[in-house]
């Protein structure tokens, strides 16, 4: 404890928050890269996942605009975070995602057509397929931040059973204002739980800019409230993001406990298809943000260092578009669920008190639209 000259003043604690970036917006490398990033295969895979996610995202918006999908939340510009998480996690790890982490969910085995089915309004979309890691993942939660403290219970169960799994719980910058987020941060270290909290700070919570969301200079420093390590990363830099997430996962697996990662990114799209960001957001800001797009910078790198040609690009983009088309077709082919299904997963066994109501629905035949 360092005694200061001032009246009875002693320093009892000090903290630092660091930022990590490995590939800048111009596609230039900063400092040394981790091994995975020195592997061309890996780089191209990360690139392809981001591009495919963007193609599917674009398709989803198109389907909504043409009345074939309900309100949809786009991940445009935020593909790197989900991609990094999806590639960093092990199969047995458990993802408790936010709604812009599609890339991570796809990598974990959620069929993209299920994601469309969700936004169409069908609960079956959250019954992720057996035989994939997503089968033991959580669907995202619409009530903001409420899923974050679930990670405490899930990670506690892992610890209780001495398993070597890690929980990754993600949310947005706005979510970090809610008690649910804070209560999880405050308690995670009490049991030194294997949790990696990842915040996608996309600078906006619908119309609320990050600066007015909280008095904290960084979101990363909120970890200090719970005694966790917290760090910032360039969330549009898929290499740096994957690097810090992998490091945090390894630490958690080694019993070092929870960490908080603030991934700095930007929401290039309206909040959802029901929103019009021009009401509250400066077009100039969005233009500027496009120059930091996670896909563009990696392509620049691939071209300069990786021999990535225009032909490669055209071919891959075509493949992505085909994939998006196929996803849309698969989605549009899905048969409606029978109306009585609203009773059939309510309880393990429907209480007899509810049988009459189910009967009524069967007779009415429902009115699926």
């Amino acid at each position: 404890m360092k005694k200061s000259r001032q009246a009875g003043k002693t320093q009892v604690a000090s903290f630092e928050v660091h930022h990590c970036g490995l590939l800048d917006a111009q596609g230039q490398a900063l400092a040394d890269w981790p091994d995975f990033a020195k592997d061309h295969e890996q780089l191209q895979k990360m690139y392809r996942v981001m591009c495919e996610t963007r193609a599917i995202d674009k398709k989803a918006v198109a389907l909504q605009r043409t009345g074939k999908l309900g309100t949809y939340a786009s991940c445009l510009g935020q593909e790197a975070v989900g991609t990094a998480i999806g590639l960093a996690m092990r199969e047995e790890d458990i993802l408790i995602p936010a709604y812009r982490d599609y890339a991570a969910q796809f990598l974990r085995g959620v069929p993209p057509e299920s994601t469309l089915l969700y936004w169409a309004g069908d609960e079956r979309s959250m019954n992720f397929p057996e035989g994939t890691p997503s089968h033991h993942d959580f669907p995202f939660s619409v009530p903001i931040a409420t899923h974050i403290p679930h990670a405490i219970g899930v990670a506690y169960a892992i610890k209780l059973r001495s398993e070597s799994k890690v929980v990754v719980a993600t949310c947005g910058d706005g979510a970090t204002s809610k008690g649910d987020f804070y209560e999880a941060i405050s308690s995670a270290k009490v049991w030194n739980l294997p949790i990696v909290f990842v915040v996608s700070n996309n600078q906006w919570a619908i119309s609320m800019p990050r600066e007015r969301q909280t008095g904290a200079q960084t979101i990363a420093q909120k970890s200090i409230a719970g005694g966790l390590p917290g760090e910032q990363v360039d969330g549009n830099d898929v290499i740096a993001t994957r690097y810090v997430v992998e490091r945090a996962l390894a630490a958690a697996r080694d019993g070092e406990g929870p960490r908080l990662i603030e991934a700095l990114t930007y929401r290039l799209h309206d909040h959802t298809t029901a929103d019009d960001a021009r009401r509250y957001r400066d077009e100039e800001e969005v233009k500027a943000a496009w120059s930091r797009c996670p896909i563009k910078r990696l392509r620049t790198w691939l071209e300069s260092d990786n021999g990535w040609t225009d032909a490669d690009e055209t071919e891959m983009q075509a493949a992505c578009d085909q994939k998006a088309e196929a996803v849309a077709e698969a989605y549009l082919k899905i048969e409606p669920e029978p109306p009585q299904a609203i009773f059939d997963s309510l309880y393990a066994v429907l209480p007899s008190a509810l049988q009459n109501q189910r009967e009524e629905v069967m007779q009415a035949g429902g009115t699926n639209d």
């Binding site: 309900g70 309100t71 969700y118 936004w119 169409a120 309004g121 069908d122 609960e123 619409v142 009530p143 903001i144 931040a145 706005g174 979510a175 204002s177 809610k178 008690g179 919570a205 619908i206 119309s207 609320m208 007015r212 969301q213 909280t214 029901a274 929103d275 009401r279 509250y280 409606p336 669920e337 109306p339 299904a341 609203i342 009773f343 309510l346 008190a353 509810l354 109501q357 009524e360 629905v361 009415a364 429902g366 009115t367 699926n368 639209d369």
Partner: protein, 329 residues
Amino acid sequence: MATVNIIEAINLALRSEMRRDANMVVLGEDIGRNGGVFRATVGLLDEFGEGRVIDTPLAENLISAMAIGLSTQGVRAVAEIQFSGFMYPCVDQIVNHAARYRNRTRGRITCPLVIRAPNGGGIHAPEHHSESLETTFAQMPGLRVLSPSNPARAYGLLLAAIRDPDPVIFLEPTRCYRLFKQELEDDGEALPLDTAFVDREGDHITLLSWGAMMHDTRLAADALEEEGIRCELIDVASLKPIDMDSILASVAKTGRCVIVQEAAQSYGPASEIAAGLAEHGLMSLFAPVVRVSGYDTIMPLARQERVYIPDVSRIIRGIRRVLEQAPIA
């Protein structure tokens, strides 16, 4: 005289009261620059400024607690919760504080606040955007719970709620926000609280509803009129307290009653009203009371929401059940 829909009527009520009462503020998520996700507060930021039109951080518990703190200082706080499904984090603050400060301080500290939210489904919104929160708040002594069914009542009841010295939960019928328009005089006149409104007189059967379901209930009444069935159509409007006197008077006249609600059947306002009839109006009933309601299921996602929400045919079926047991002479 303007012709407005419900969302415009709410906007007018907020504006006119903010002009009248410099002590009134609005707060909530995205209500300022963005004008609210349903545009209820559009224009208020420009007219009244950031001080009185408060964009809050993303925390409903905080919003309700902040409204409480403001109201204890005599600031008329009108908070918007973006959708009623996101009011659950406010329950602790509203029940344990807003509803209680007057009583526990024997009148020294009061909470003249309003918490508004779009309520109910039917607009193909995402998960958690179509819930019915009536009972969550109506069960709590110390609160008032209102649910308007048309522009005039949205305007007049919201003004009454804001001016009331006690906390009021104001549940707005989401799917009727823009469904129809009404002539409205923006005269700052409030409607009475604690009162049901008789929208149509009739002596054969009493139909009770509120909020969005009033619309479908009226359509059902229209259909039956053609068969010569004279329905007394009542907008309950106030779910806490419920105007049982008006309801009992109507049932004393008709001897028949159907209650229509979107909320799940169990523990809803329809049950509270039916219980009041069983205790205080039993002898005037010719036939069992029928509750036409949402099912006791979780509000389904968009594709099945119409299976859950009572439609005109379900309401008519309910009415026929009563008429079969007590045919009209």
